[in-house]
C-alpha cells in the first residue's frame, strides 16, 4: 500500500516535469512535492547493480530527522551524523530501505527495532503490532557534507571575526510559462493552505490559463537559523534569521576581537505554510506562483535529508551545526580527497619499498 502510494507520487512528480501543458486552455503547475534530480535525499554508496529492495509499511510513516554537523573553527564540516526516527502508526509488516552513504548505523535510543546496513543504505524489517518507532543514528560518508543546506564560514578580519551563514540550497525545475486567472491562483493557494501540499494530485495542479512555453527556474529553500555564536569572555551573540523567502540568503555576524568563536546553530527549512503567501499577500504572476511552488518543493526535499519510504508522509528535519575540536585522527579523516590521496600514496610507497628490500634479503638467504 505504502509503496504504491510512494510510486504514485514519484510518477506524478515526473509527469509534472514533462514539458507539455495538460491541454489547451490549462496551465500545469509545478507540484509542491516535485523533486530535483540532485540530493537531498541522499543516495547510497552504491546505486546500481543491486536488486531493488522491497518497500512495504502499514499506513503512513512520520519522519523526523536531526542532522548533526560537526564543524571546525573555520566553519568547515568535519562529520555528519543523522538521527532518523520513523514512526509507524498501524499494525502490519514493514520492510524498506532508506538510501544513505552510511559508514555506520546503530539503533537510536527509543528504537523498537534494529536497523541493518547495506551499501545501498539502512534496512528495516519486521512486524509492527501497533505504533512502532524505528530510530537509527547514522554516520555518513564525508561526501554527504556537500549536500548540507547551510554553509558556515568563519574568518579573521582586521581586529574582528566574521561569521558568515549562507543558504546554499539550490534547485532547478522546468515549469510552464503563461498566464492564469488571478482568482484561480487565489483558490489554488487557499486549497494548498487548507489541505496541505503533500497530497495534491495532478488533476488539482491544472489551472485555466494560457500557456506560452517552458522555462527553467532556479529556487532556494528558505531556512530559519537560530542559535548562538560564543566567544570566550563575552556574552554569546544570539542568531535568529531567515535566509531566503524574500530575505537575503546570506547573513554575516561580525564580532570584535581575534578569538575564533564556538558556534551552536540550528537550521530548519521552512514548512510549506510558511513559504506559501498568506491570504492577503497577492501573487502577481504565474511565474511568481511557480517560483513559490518550487521553493516549497525544494524545502520539502531538505526535510528529507535521508529519505522516507513514505515521501508524502509528515516529515521534518533540523540541521544542528556545532563547533567541535578537531582531533588529529579526525583531521586526517576530514582532509580533502587530495590530501587523503597523498597520504595513501606515501604509505603505499613506503610499504612497497620495505617489501622489496625484505624480498631481496629473503632471496639472498634461500
Amino acid at each position: 500500500m505504502g509503496s504504491q502510494r510512494g510510486l504514485a507520487v514519484l510518477v506524478v512528480g515526473a509527469l509534472l516535469l514533462v514539458p507539455a501543458a495538460a491541454a489547451a486552455g490549462t496551465i500545469t503547475l509545478l507540484s509542491p512535492s516535485a523533486r530535483t534530480s540532485t540530493p537531498p535525499p541522499l543516495v547510497g554508496k552504491r546505486i546500481t547493480g543491486l536488486a531493488p529492495q522491497e518497500t512495504r509499511f502499514p499506513g503512513r510513516l512520520r519522519n523526523v530527522e536531526r542532522i548533526a554537523v560537526g564543524i571546525d573553527r573555520s566553519g568547515a564540516p568535519l562529520g555528519v551524523v543523522v538521527t532518523q526516527r520513523l514512526t509507524i502508526s498501524r499494525p502490519g509488516d514493514f520492510a524498506f530501505l532508506v538510501p544513505a552513504p552510511a559508514t555506520k548505523v546503530v539503533a537510536a535510543p527509543g528504537s523498537q527495532a534494529e536497523p541493518g546496513l547495506r551499501d545501498l543504505g539502512i534496512v528495516w524489517q519486521g512486524f509492527a503490532s501497533g505504533r512502532r518507532v524505528l530510530a537509527a543514528t547514522v554516520t555518513l560518508a564525508p561526501a554527504a557534507a556537500a549536500v548540507l543546506p547551510l554553509r558556515v564560514s568563519v574568518e579573521r578580519r582586521s581586529g574582528s571575526v566574521a561569521v558568515r551563514l549562507e543558504n546554499v540550497t539550490r534547485g532547478r525545475f522546468t515549469v510552464v510559462t503563461g498566464s492564469v486567472a488571478p482568482a484561480a491562483v487565489r483558490g489554488f493557494l487557499a486549497r494548498l493552505r487548507r489541505e496541505g501540499t503533500t497530497t495534491v494530485v495532478s488533476s488539482e495542479l491544472a489551472l485555466p490559463g494560457r500557456a506560452t512555453g517552458h522555462a527553467v527556474i532556479g529556487v532556494t529553500a528558505p531556512l530559519r537559523v537560530r542559535g548562538t555564536i560564543a566567544v570566550p569572555g563575552r556574552s554569546p551573540v544570539g542568531v535568529s534569521a531567515v535566509l531566503g523567502a524574500g530575505h537575503p540568503t546570506t547573513r554575516t555576524f561580525v564580532l570584535p576581537g581575534r578569538a575564533l568563536p564556538a558556534l551552536d546553530l540550528q537550521a530548519e527549512p521552512l514548512g510549506p505554510l510558511e513559504i506559501l503567501p498568506g491570504p492577503h499577500e497577492p501573487v502577481s504572476s504565474l511565474a511568481g506562483l511557480q517560483q513559490v511552488l518550487g521553493s516549497v518543493a525544494l524545502a520539502w526535499q531538505y526535510h528529507h535529508f535521508l529519505d522516507s519510504p513514505d515521501p508524502s508522509g509528515p516529515s521534518t528535519a533540523s540541521y544542528v551545526y556545532r563547533t567541535v575540536e578537531r582531533s588529529p585522527l579526525a583531521a586526517v579523516a576530514g582532509r580533502s580527497s587530495g590530501g587523503g590521496d597523498t597520504l595513501t600514496i606515501v604509505l603505499v610507497a613506503v610499504l612497497g619499498v620495505a617489501a622489496l628490500v625484505g624480498g631481496a634479503i629473503l632471496w639472498a638467504h634461500l
Partner: protein, 405 residues
C-alpha cells in the same frame, strides 16, 4: 634447489592466471555442503537437506562465461561438535560454495570455513552468540533466534500475570534456551516461579514437574528436545496437573506427537513459538512452496491422526530456511558476478530474495539474522494439529496452514 622451487611455484601461479577464455560445454559444479544430525534426528536432517535441494533444483548459473549447477553433499554430524568440525574440514577441502548446518559444532568449526571465506548458514539452532557479523563474518542464520523466542514469550506471558516455571533440559539447545529466558525475564523476575533443569536422558520427569508445581507455578515453559517436552507433558497430565504448557520450536517435531499418540488430549493446549510461515500477503507463497516440496519429496507424515481421524502432515516450515539461503547464495553469486568465496561472502550482505513465506529475506553488514524477532508467532495444538493463537497481535493475523490429508 629451493630457489628453483620458488621460481617454479611463481610460474605456476602466473600460468594459472592465464586461463582459457573458451566456454566449457559441461556445467561446472558448485557444492553446497549440508551438515546435519541425520542419524540422530532424521526429521531435522532430512528437512534441511530437502530445503537445499529444492532451493537449488534446476538452477543453472552463468558466471564469468561458465555455467554452474549446484551439487548438494550431505554430512552427518550426529549432534556431535567434533564430527561437525571434521565435516567442515571436508567441505572446505571440496571447495564448497557454502555450508548449511543445523548449528551443531559451529562454535568450533566456523574459523575453519572462515579461513577459506566459505559462508555457513545455520538453519535451526537459535543460540545466542553463534552469529556475530563482527567476529564471525562468515556465519549467517535463517531461523528464529533463542533471543527472539524468549523475548516474544516474555511479551506474551508477562501480561497474562502467570507465574512461569522454566523447565529446560541439559542439551546445548536447552541450556541456550534457559540463558535466553533468563535474559528475557530479567526485568520481571516475579513472573518466574522456578528454574529447573532436567537430564535429557530422563524417561520420567515427574520429580521435576512436581518441583515446578510446588513452586506455585501457574504455567510451565519447557525448553528442550521434543522428548523432554513429551515427558514433561506426560508427567504433568498424568498427575492431574492441567497447567498451561509452552515450548520452543522443537515442539513442532513429529517426535513429540508420536510420543503422545496414545494420549492426544495431553497435547491439546500446548502453545509453542516458531517462525511464521506466512507473510502479510497471505498463505499463497507458502502453500506453493509446500506443494513443490511435497511433489518432490512427499508430505512429511507425522505418523498420527487428527481429531477427525485423518493423517496429520507437518508443514515443511523448517525447510523454508535452507531453501531461502540457497536462493540468497545464488543471488549473491549473481550480484557479485563471481564464485570467488570472498566476493560471494561480501555480496551476501547486500542481496535480498523473496522467501518461501513471501517475506523479504536477506542479511546485511551488521546483522546476519535472516529471521527477525518480530516474525516469531505462537501456535496452539488441538487434535494433533496446530493453529496460530488469537491473543497475540502477530499470530492473530496469520492463517491456519492445513495439516490433514
Amino acid at each position: 634447489m629451493l630457489k628453483a622451487a620458488v621460481a617454479c611455484a611463481a610460474l605456476v601461479v602466473l600460468l594459472a592466471g592465464c586461463g582459457s577464455s573458451e566456454r566449457s560445454s559441461r556445467p561446472r559444479e558448485l557444492t553446497i555442503a549440508v551438515d546435519a544430525p541425520f542419524s540422530r534426528d532424521s526429521y531435522l536432517g532430512t528437512t534441511i537437506e530437502n530445503g537445499v535441494r529444492l532451493g537449488s533444483r534446476d538452477t543453472l548459473l552463468t558466471v564469468g562465461g561458465d555455467d554452474y549447477r549446484i551439487r548438494v553433499v550431505r554430512y552427518d554430524n550426529a549432534h556431535s561438535a567434533s564430527r561437525a568440525v571434521a565435516d567442515v574440514r571436508r567441505a572446505v577441502a571440496q571447495h564448497a560454495a557454502a555450508i548449511v548446518s543445523d548449528g551443531t559444532g559451529i562454535d568450533a568449526a566456523w574459523k575453519i570455513a572462515d579461513r577459506a571465506h566459505i559462508p555457513i548458514a545455520i538453519v535451526f539452532d537459535g543460540g545466542t552468540g553463534l552469529v556475530d557479523p563482527a567476529k564471525r563474518p562468515n556465519v549467517f542464520r535463517i531461523a528464529p533466534t533463542d533471543h527472539g523466542i524468549a523475548f516474544r514469550f516474555a511479551e506474551y506471558l508477562i501480561p497474562k500475570k502467570l507465574k512461569v516455571a522454566f523447565l529446560t533440559d541439559d542439551t546445548g539447545y536447552g541450556r541456550e534456551g534457559r540463558a535466553a529466558l533468563d535474559h528475557a525475564f530479567s526485568e520481571n523476575a516475579s513472573s518466574v516461579a522456578a528454574r529447573i533443569q532436567a537430564p535429557s536422558t530422563a524417561t520420567d520427569l515427574a520429580p521435576q514437574v512436581l518441583q515446578a508445581r510446588r513452586s506455585g507455578a501457574t504455567a510451565l515453559l519447557v525448553w528442550g528436545q521434543p522428548s523432554t517436552i513429551a515427558e514433561a507433558l506426560i508427567a504433568a497430565r498424568s498427575s492431574g496437573w492441567n497447567v498451561p504448557v509452552y515450548a520452543p520450536p522443537s515442539a513442532e517435531d513429529p517426535l513429540l506427537r508420536q510420543e503422545l499418540a496414545g494420549h492426544p488430549k495431553w497435547l491439546d493446549g500446548l502453545v509453542f513459538a516458531s517462525g511464521r510461515m506466512t507473510a502479510e500477503e497471505g498463505p499463497a507463497p507458502f502453500m506453493a512452496f509446500q506443494s513443490a516440496y511435497e511433489q518432490r519429496f512427499g508430505a512429511q507424515q507425522v505418523g498420527v491422526r487428527s481429531g477427525a481421524g485423518r493423517p496429520v502432515v507437518q508443514p515443511p516450515d523448517y525447510a523454508m530456511y535452507p531453501y531461502d539461503f540457497t536462493h540468497l547464495l545464488v543471488a549473491a553469486i549473481q550480484s557479485g558476478k563471481s564464485t570467488d568465496p570472498a566476493k560471494v561472502l561480501a555480496a551476501l550482505n547486500e542481496v535480498s530474495v523473496e522467501g518461501a513465506n513471501g517475506d523479504s529475506r536477506g542479511f546485511n553488514r551488521i546483522n546476519h539474522e535472516g529471521v527477525v524477532d518480530d516474525d516469531v508467532y505462537f501456535a496452539r495444538f488441538r487434535g494433533m494439529t496446530y493453529a496460530p493463537v488469537k491473543d497475540d497481535a502477530l499470530s492473530a493475523t496469520l492463517p491456519v496452514i492445513p495439516q490433514e490429508r
